[in-house]
């Protein structure tokens, strides 16, 4: 973030910013709106059927609603800053979803690992917006962050429970082996031109490479230190 980065406090002020700034913010808001809805539809809703007890089923219902609520909030902000409503939902021919959403969810341990590691990736993305120069987006990030943290905690708590028994511990390890390699790509390409624009305008703080390295380090703490499992090697994950 440079000293010259603007502080944009309102939608009216947003409309007065450069084309580069407006385009950059719209890209981020659109991405969050689409991915929050994709996550709810592809993972959270189907996971209700996979959950082993009413407690887990209802909690997953709640998580799905919160993810959907995040989509609604990003969609509302997107419409306020001039993104057509149709561009803020997944659709054929629209913005390509993250490769993470190609993952075929088949069992409860996989979902718990997705929450543990997938929502950690989401937390890092949202953390990077907590000081965003566009204040409505900064405030939205601050609003959604507690729920994102809870979703990751949900994954951690259930993974810890599953790891208490040898059979389900092996299932969690298998899920980590399948899920983790997909996730570092979530942070975008190294040397990204978009990311350079985001940082120059104070919209984001860190490079994709910095975030990816931080993500892998934090994932390692969760998987190896807290669960006592093995994280696939970074080379395999890259």
């Amino acid at each position: 973030m440079t000293a010259a980065a603007p502080q944009v406090k309102t939608i009216d002020e947003f409309a007065q910013q450069s084309e580069e700034y407006q385009t950059a913010v719209r890209k981020i808001v659109r991405s969050h709106a689409i991915n929050e809805l994709y996550g709810a539809q592809v993972f959270d809703e189907p996971a209700i059927a996979l959950a082993p007890t009413p407690y887990a089923k209802w909690l997953t219902c709640r998580v799905a609603m919160e993810e959907y609520g995040h989509h609604v909030r990003f969609k509302e902000l997107g419409e306020q800053i001039g993104i057509p409503a149709g561009d803020l939902v997944p659709r054929a021919g629209g913005k390509r979803p993250l490769s993470l959403f190609d993952f075929r969810l088949e069992n409860w341990p996989e979902f718990c690992v997705l929450k543990l590691l997938g929502d950690l990736a989401e937390i890092l993305q949202v953390e990077d917006l907590l000081h965003c120069s566009f204040h409505p987006l900064r405030n939205l990030a601050r609003m959604t962050m507690p729920e994102e943290r809870f979703h990751a905690q949900f994954g951690e708590d259930f993974c810890i429970d599953l790891c208490e028994k040898p059979k389900s511990r092996a299932e969690v390890q298998g899920a980590v082996d399948r899920v983790f390699p997909i996730l570092p790509a979530f942070f975008g390409q190294a040397g990204s031109k978009n990311n350079e624009i985001y940082r120059r305008n104070g919209i984001k703080l860190r490079t994709n490479e910095e975030m990816r390295a931080d993500y892998i380090a934090r994932a390692r703490v969760l998987v190896e230190d807290k669960l006592g499992l093995r994280l696939p090697p970074p080379a395999q994950a890259a």
Partner: protein, 201 residues
């Protein structure tokens, strides 16, 4: 900073207005009423005869009238029952069968978009309200378990969604999803069946 908030409210009101214009009346009425119900207000109180009768009606409608009914006194008991590994899945499976049957019935009678918009509206309205109500009820009982509060909110939101679907399909007040919602609206939480007993908090 007031402009974005005002704009958000305006956008939300416009969105709700657009949804309300297309969804079945019963679903609209349900969504509008959610904010005015007694969510989780009677947790732990002894069950009344009328409440037992409602729960019995719900169980009979799902073919589970062999179950006894029992009240639950505390949040800790509720947590244990909801997470019992030996829970009886018949009620969940029966609800799922009924949900799929209602979706098939409504698909034949209603355009998909207004139906989904209406049910999403119900779930959104419930999600906002019931989580706060569950948190207040838990706090009154000295419970600060964020996950358990969300579990309660998830159960109530699901009950709202199911009742909305039943209304969209033209089902009346005797439908098991309508009965279940009335139990929740009366301040209760139906926890399900364990060991042949249907537990109600």
């Amino acid at each position: 900073m007031t402009k974005p908030i005002a704009a958000t409210r305006k956008a939300r009101a416009a969105r709700i207005g657009a949804v309300a214009a297309t969804v079945p009346d019963g679903v609209t009425a349900l969504a509008r009423a959610i904010a005015h119900r007694s969510w989780f207000a009677a947790l732990g109180d002894p069950l009344t005869d009328a409440e037992r009768a409602e729960v019995a009606t719900y169980l009979a409608a799902l073919g589970l009238d062999d179950c006894r009914i029992a009240g639950v006194a505390t949040w800790d008991e509720a947590r244990a029952i909801a997470s019992a590994p030996d829970w009886d899945p018949r009620w969940w499976d029966a609800e799922e069968r009924e949900r799929r049957a209602l979706l098939a019935a409504t698909a034949a009678a209603l355009p998909e978009h207004p139906l989904m918009s209406g049910l999403t509206w119900v779930a959104e309205a419930a999600s906002d309200v019931v989580h706060g109500a569950a948190a207040v009820a838990a706090a009154r009982a000295g419970i600060a378990d964020a996950a358990l509060i969300r579990v309660a909110a998830g159960a109530a939101t699901l009950a709202c969604y199911q009742a909305g679907l039943a209304r969209a399909a033209g089902r009346g007040d005797a439908h098991p999803f309508a009965v279940k919602l009335r139990v929740f609206e009366g301040g209760r939480w139906m926890l399900g069946i364990v060991g042949g007993v249907c537990f109600v908090f």
